[in-house]
Structures are given as C-alpha cells and as structure tokens.
Assembly symmetry: C2
Homo-oligomer: 404 residues x 2
Amino acid sequence: VTPPLDGVRVLDLGTRIAAPFCAGLLGELGADVIKVEQPGRGDFLRGLGPFVATEESASGAVGHSLYWAVEGRGRRSVTLDLGKPEGAGLLRRLAATADVVCENFRPGTLERWGIGPGDCDPSLVWVRISTYGQDGPYSPRPGLDRVGVGFGGLMHLTGEPDRPPVRVGVTISDYLTGAMAANAAIAALFARDARGTGEGAVVDAALYGSVLRVLEWTLVAYDRLGVVRGREGNRLANSAPLDNYPTADGKWVCVVAGSDANFARLCEAMERPELATDPGWATTAARVSKVDEVNELVAAWTRSLTAAEVVDRCVAHDVPVATAHTAADIFADTHVAARGDLVTVEDPVIGATRQQAPFPRFVGEPVVAPAGAPLLGAHTREVLGSLLGLDDDALDRLAAEGIT
Amino acid sequence: VTPPLDGVRVLDLGTRIAAPFCAGLLGELGADVIKVEQPGRGDFLRGLGPFVATEESASGAVGHSLYWAVEGRGRRSVTLDLGKPEGAGLLRRLAATADVVCENFRPGTLERWGIGPGDCDPSLVWVRISTYGQDGPYSPRPGLDRVGVGFGGLMHLTGEPDRPPVRVGVTISDYLTGAMAANAAIAALFARDARGTGEGAVVDAALYGSVLRVLEWTLVAYDRLGVVRGREGNRLANSAPLDNYPTADGKWVCVVAGSDANFARLCEAMERPELATDPGWATTAARVSKVDEVNELVAAWTRSLTAAEVVDRCVAHDVPVATAHTAADIFADTHVAARGDLVTVEDPVIGATRQQAPFPRFVGEPVVAPAGAPLLGAHTREVLGSLLGLDDDALDRLAAEGIT
C-alpha cells in the first residue's frame, strides 16, 4: 500500500552523513527527497572511497564511490549554488513546495545566504544538524561525527579498560542524530497536519546531544554517586561468562550467559552439566569472584569448535549468542536471506548493487529497494522545470551561469 | 507551546531498553506514555545497577537503580499480569484507548496471551522490537543488544585491528532500533491521522536490522569488490593525522586533521607552520606514506599539553577536536551547561537527579525535564480508574487476585 509519508516533500541540503541520512529515512518511509548540491562538486561523499573503477577512472579519476552509492540512494539530485543570490532565490521557491528541509551546515551559514528558517514559510519543518547545536559558546566550532562521539562521552566508554578509547566502527553520532532528528521532524509534521496547527518547527540536533541521550546511567551515576564510568571492553561488572570468545575458525562469538539460568543452559551446551549445580560455579557471586577462570572455561570450549558449531550448540540450549559477523558472514547468512535484508539497488553508474534494506519494515508490506544514488544534477531540469515552471531557456541560462 | 505528540497515547509493554526507549522518545515529544509491568516484579532494569542506597537497602535490598531512574522516566506505571486472561482483557481495553503500543517480547508471546495486533483494533500502531525480527528462521532465538551488534556486523568493525572486536560502550542496537522504530511509528500516525487513512500499522524492528542499516559502505563493498571490511581502531585508511592522542593530564583528545587544509591549520596550532608547505608533509599522499610518523608528531605535541590546552589551540585554528569526555568532563563543560543538556529529574525515591536532556530540541521551546521514573504500579488505580472506569471495589479485587 501507499507508504506513510507519501505526499511529503523533503529538501536535503546536507552533505556527508547526518542530514542526508535523516532525509533518506524520511524517503524510505515514502517522502519525495530532493537533494540540493553544489554545482560541479556535489556531496563530499561522492569523493570518498571505497571506489569501483569506472571508465573515467582509467583516465585518472578515482571511480565511483560506494559510500555515496549507499548514502545517496533514494533521492533526486538538483544542483544549485546557494551562495549566489539567484541560487538562494530558487532554493526559497523550492522550499515553498516542500514540507521538510534537512541541513547540516555550520550554524549561521543558511542565514548568511538568506535561506534560513526566517527567510522561508513558517509552515516548514527544519532539521538542523550540527556538531555542537545552533547555540551555545562552541556552536561555531568545526566538527564531525568523531567529535560528537568524543564530546558526548561515548568514546571514553568504548574499548578495553587498559587501552586507549576507541571509536565506534561507523559514524554512529551521525546516524543516531539523523534518526532522532527524523523523529522530531515527523512529529512536527503530525502536529502541523494531523492536529492542524499549520505551524512548522525548527529542530536543533547536535551530534553530541544524541550521544548524551544514550549514555544509559553514566551521567546520573556521576551526579549521585560520583562514579566516573570507564571502559569495560566486552565484559560487564558482575556478569560472567559474558565476552567475545575465539573460535577454531578464527572468528569471535559473543556469548551472553551471565545470569544463573543462562549459565546453566550454557553448561548443558558445553556438556558440563555438573557445573550448573556446583556451588563454585552455579551462582553469579561465585562466578564473578573468578571472572577470568569462568571466561577461560568458555574460551577453551569455543576454541575447540567453529563459530557455526558454537552458535548451533548455544541455540539448541536457548543461550543468547552471535558471531561477530563480517560482511561475508552477513551475505552468507540464512536468516538475512530469508528476511530480505539485502536489497538490490540499481546504481546509475555501476548497475546492480546489493545493500542494506530500509529499516524498519512494516508487517505485510514488501521491502522496497530505494532508487540508486543519482548522478550530480541528474534531476535539475526535471525538478526546476516541474516544480518551479522554469522553461528550457531559463534552465540553459542557469546552467551556463553556474547557478545550477 | 504544546508539544507535537500531545494527545497521543502510548502503551509501553517493553522491558530493558529498546521498546521502553522508543516509548520514551514518543513521550519526550509529548505523548502520554503508560508503562504496563508485571505485578511484583516490573521492568528488569529496576533490578540492574548502579544503585543508590535506600532505607530498604540497609535491610538487605540492593537500593534504587540509577539505570531505571533514566530509562524509566517520563511515564506512568500500571501493573497488569498479561499472562492471565483477565489481565489480557484489561490490556485490550487499555489498548482501545491508545494510539501506539511498544513491545519487545520474543515473537509470538503477545499472540499466545491473546493481545497481539490481530486481537486489537486495526487503527493501532504497533512497534514490535525483537533481536531477529518477527519472522525468519532465527526469529524464536533468544537475544539482546549484544547479539544485535554482533549479528548486524558492527562488533566486527569496532576495536583495534590487532585485537579482538569490542562492543560499543552502550547498548547501541537497542537505542538505534528504538529510535528508528519511533520514526516508523510516528510516520504511521501521520498517515492514519493527517492523510486520514484511519489505518494502523505493525512495525517489525529487529535489533540487527538497525545495525545493518548504519554499516556505511561495508556491505556494498563486499558485494562489488569482495572487500571484507575490518577494524581500523581510531584511524582511517588514507587519512592522517587522525587518532586519539594522549595528553599531559592523562586524557585522550581526538584530533581530525587528515585533509590538507586541516593539516595546515593544525601545523599553525602546533607552531610548526613550515610543515604545511613541506612536500614531505603537506599532502595526504605524503602523510599516508608515513602514518606512524605523522601520528607520533601530533602525539608528541599533545603529550606536552593538557587536554584543555590542546582543544584551545586547535579551536583557535579551526581544527576539529574533542576530548574523549568522561562523565566528570561533561558535568564540568561550559557548553553543556549553556545549552542545558543536563536536566533535573525528580525521582520519586531518591529525589533530584541530573540526567541527559530529551533529544532533539525545538528552537524557541524550553527543554522540559521528564517526570521521574515511577514506582512500580504507582498509577495502576489512577489509570484503570480513569481510562477504564473501574471502581474501588474492582481495583481492590484485581490487586488482591494478583492481576494488578
């Protein structure tokens, strides 16, 4: 059936991850997303690897970015030089046809160009993503995902206790901020159109702020107990066995069996049922008093088996377990295949690509593959022609003058 | 003004993080959230530390959970034994007053109790969160956050290349799944009420699926290049300097200066301007060819300064930088204070607590502190009385029979 955000139009003025991801989520829920890019250059991700070699790349260019092929999908591309008055004017006219604008310039940039919220219709919903937020003393500072992760306190918590902090393996503050900003944007549309206020809203989403929000008990424990939470690697205080364990085929499996019930099941899986009733092993208190010994017991077992064997035996006894999947594991997985978690996206340059599916899904609705990431400006004429009524002469002039 | 989801009612049937977080996000956007908990036991988080000692704890109990104090905030608590027919019947009546139901039982549980989507009004929006999703061969398996992170491929990418994979420092698949499921739920409300379909929806959100969605180029690069992406620690191929660097006061600072422009600015900050024009240092290619030397240059500089000094000098030259903040750093930070990112939540047991603010915020609207996490069943009589019209006798009987 019709997707939920059908009829909603989103302008994506962003670059890299956070704002484009937010716009993309709205698109995967059914919105029409139009990306506005700098003529001749476009989104920064277009130039970030890894690359697939293309015809041009043989002659010196780098090829086609697979990063862009994922994060640029599901939208049309219009080029517009927002720093020029005529470009800004066209953006204001485009915005008048839209419901949501997503952007992640440094605060103040849109205002300098005359295309901020105050320059547009108050019924628009704005998603403004930035490292430090739209106000406050650090607001003008440069930044990006890693700054959000570090400043927001997640970097300090990630990694092993006796090693330096380590970043999360993907740009998690970009993604989390984009996802949570999308919540606020859709809620604002709901208020505007379902509750009928008719009013837009301006969402101020700082990368570090989304990270703060998911710090669990870290902040309140400092406030009330003076506890400065540190890194714990894969273990948790007062829980064993719980770790990533090595397997005979060089993989790692996460086994979660810290509770007495799960430990008893794991003992069955390990064919050591006597430990489940042994006072030296059966209780959390006993196991926590010899954490290393408990983890070594499990590691010795996992080292004797392949990851698939460990998983099978744990599953047979209802113990939570997962292999630390590589991309190859994900492509080979039965469940991933059965669920259709990899969709084929037709890229306009490199053709069929298999990518992660839109998330989440609706029960009873098919998973739809987004359109491939567009060529820079592929839809400039189509969009400015149909939405703004510009004719061929006007479009030719704009292109010739470098406005589009 | 009125928050965007004012008038929306959400039932939170979840436990631990993912579904309760989703419900909490809707609550922070203005929805009325009613948590339904097992009589006598309640949400699992109520029993997870860290704890603040309370009167009872002196006599043996563990005290009041700070984890619960954060994740349980912003909702009312009703006890109801859903496994008993009368409890299930009351849940169906409560659901008839609601717009959204959030749950994260193992798939099939609600159906077994006769309170699944098919048992309730089709105008309801359901958020069903589970480790593996509502269908597919692994759907019945046990799991939790770490399984989502491992199975979804993020564990393998996080950590140092020569060490085992490491978990993200917080339950990131719970949070990410909850946030993205909230998107779909609000979009479904929008379709139902603003587009006027009148139809509900059932969101199927698997923990591993949200993780897949944010894997960047990991999957498509395997598909098209056969590349199995690995861990890179804090560095990225083809970018230097970029790492966490140690400081004289025992902290870590993330400095992001891999581009030539940022490197030139960092050279100014380090008072080594000559390097910015030295062919051995000035280009990305030159720096990548001697990554360790480049990072050691920066580390030698950061080790001579406090983290605050490194940040000040980088900021003065517009270089992206952040200290890997601890909880203590966050409480001491000027920008966090100016933005009001810590709010005072009045907990019914332990009083004023400072916690992370709702996220994101709307420009021009005050940040509102959520209500404190409720005592188990504190609102049972109020909710069942006002919404279902139960009188005191009926409420007394339900309590006496262990239904509430």
